[in-house]
């Protein structure tokens, strides 16, 4: 099928794009990589009156290092996450997750910002952004605001973004700048590790369940920060409360398995064509422990 008729505009600057969104509001859809929007338009699940194509706004495609962290323009393509050495250095979790997002041909077009704003509950990037405690910079003609990743995802394909707002940039703190209790003065720098695990039917499919984790240890191997995020099971990614209890401990495999089981009991798990809720919980417990275990091992080796 072909989309219902729409008017097409391709602004050259963020301000032009914001003016268009202010004018058209709910009637407009923002086109980034098009790997989610265009299928929905082709199937006429979405019929925007106006499509605002961001692909000519050059500034949105910038990727830069910033104080040990990263700043990703919303239009950075997903394949840049797996190819760009700066991502591997500053946000290795993203580099590891990227090859599992769709396929070569969709990652070459699909954007980081597009995936976040689309907010598919089984998508990898929203969960990774919460684990990394990213900050999303949103703009509208009314002004700018920042929203932490943990506050951005509200439900199935639903976010905190207003109809006249644009996700402009994603700010990722560096591995050592993540929040959490500060290391005591004089102690060696914290060592950070990440972990990622998911179960999907085939390579590139949306995950039935997935887990990602970021763990920081101090010089003595004591956990200073542990963020575990589950995705694919409920209507949005879930930041595990159970993992925060690891702070102050030297977690071993049995303890991580316990956290995994606790988190599997916390998540909302849905029944659908692809898997039962019971199966999702069962797998979630194992994946959570695996992602945490990877993160701890990497932090120890760092």
């Amino acid at each position: 099928m072909r989309p219902a008729p729409f008017d097409y505009v391709a602004p050259r600057t963020v301000d032009e794009a914001l003016d268009l969104l202010a004018r058209h509001g709910d009637e407009a859809k923002v086109l980034a990589g098009g790997q989610s929007l265009v299928p929905m338009m082709n199937m006429r699940l979405v019929r925007p009156a106006v499509v605002v194509d961001l692909n000519r706004v050059a500034t949105l495609g910038a990727l830069r290092e910033d104080a040990g962290g990263l700043r990703l323009g919303a239009l950075v393509r997903q394949h840049a996450l797996e190819r760009d050495g700066r991502v591997a250095r500053a946000a290795p979790l993203l580099a590891e997750a990227a090859p599992l997002i769709g396929h070569l041909g969709t990652r070459a077009r699909g954007t980081v910002g597009g995936s976040l704003v689309h907010a598919d509950p089984a998508a990898e990037l929203p969960a990774c952004m919460i684990a990394l405690d990213a900050v999303f910079h949103l703009q509208s003609a009314r002004g700018a605001r920042a929203c932490r990743a943990g506050d951005f995802f509200r439900g199935l394909l639903t976010t905190a973004l207003e109809p006249d707002e644009l996700l402009v940039e994603i700010e990722l703190p560096g591995p050592s700048a993540s929040p959490g209790p500060a290391a005591p003065p004089g102690s060696a720098a914290r060592r950070t590790g990440h972990g990622f695990a998911e179960v999907a039917r085939r390579h590139g499919d949306f995950a039935l369940v997935g887990a990602c984790a970021v763990v920081a240890l101090d010089a003595g191997g004591v956990c200073r920060q542990a963020r575990l995020v589950m995705f694919g099971a409920g209507d949005r990614p879930h930041l595990a409360r159970a993992a925060a209890a690891l702070v102050g401990e030297r977690p071993g495999a049995a303890r991580l398995a316990e956290v995994g089981r606790a988190e599997a009991g916390e998540i909302e798990a849905r029944d659908d064509l692809h898997a039962s809720a019971r199966y999702r919980r069962h797998v979630a417990a194992g994946l959570a422990a695996r992602a945490l275990g990877q993160a701890v091992a990497r932090a120890e080796a760092a």
């Binding site: 099928m1 072909r2 989309p3 219902a4 008729p5 729409f6 008017d7 097409y8 391709a10 086109l31 098009g34 790997q35 265009v38 299928p39 082709n42 199937m43 009156a49 499509v51 194509d53 692909n55 394949h79 090859p99 769709g102 396929h103 070569l104 041909g105 969709t106 070459a108 077009r109 085939r202 390579h203 590139g204």
Partner: protein, 175 residues
């Protein structure tokens, strides 16, 4: 006031090295303009929602599903399609030769998309392993071949270790 979506846009695209122009309405897909305006029917449309990969072309060197791009978006870009793989004398691309000799296609519907995906991949990864080839192909569906022969054809081009062709029944009996 004009009817919604009726305003046409003039686009200029370099397709397989040839400068092309067209006047397109916004809802026209890149695949539509390739096939219907410029007669390049080698690009096949399968699912029309990005799942099958049959319509894969290269836009500025990167693979893209031509069903998930509006033609107007391609203005100013460089597009490569399966028609561009043959050389000036009509000789097949080495990958196409390998597909032919290894029986890597049956009905051929998915073949152009698979070739374009692999051409882009091999430019960056000239010597992939079998597992990497399968991963590279994960976004392209073929309902005939079972992929085995496609993977073998890529390995042949990439200089990888090949499975020896299975012996024909008569030869096997003599051995």
């Amino acid at each position: 006031m004009t009817t919604r979506g009726a305003v046409a846009h003039d686009i200029a695209v370099t397709v397989n090295g040839v400068a092309r122009r067209a006047r397109v309405i916004p809802r026209m897909l890149l695949a539509d303009v390739l096939r219907e305006e410029w007669g390049l029917t080698g690009t096949h449309l399968g699912c029309e929602h990005g799942a099958c990969g049959a319509c894969t072309v290269l836009v500025d060197g990167e693979p893209a599903r031509a069903c998930l791009m509006f033609a107007v978006q391609a203005d100013g870009s460089r597009v490569e399609t399966v028609e561009g793989l043959v050389d000036g004398d009509g000789g097949l691309h080495p990958l196409q030769e390998a597909f032919r000799s290894r029986h890597a296609l049956q009905c051929g519907f998915c073949t152009p998309g698979i070739l374009m995906t692999l051409v882009a991949y091999l430019r960056v990864h000239p010597a992939p392993s079998e597992a990497e080839i399968r991963e590279a192909l994960s976004g392209n569906l073929c309902r005939c071949t079972g992929y085995q022969h496609i993977v073998q054809a890529v390995l042949e081009v990439a200089g990888g270790p090949l499975t020896p062709p299975s012996p024909r029944r008569g030869e096997g009996e003599r051995a």
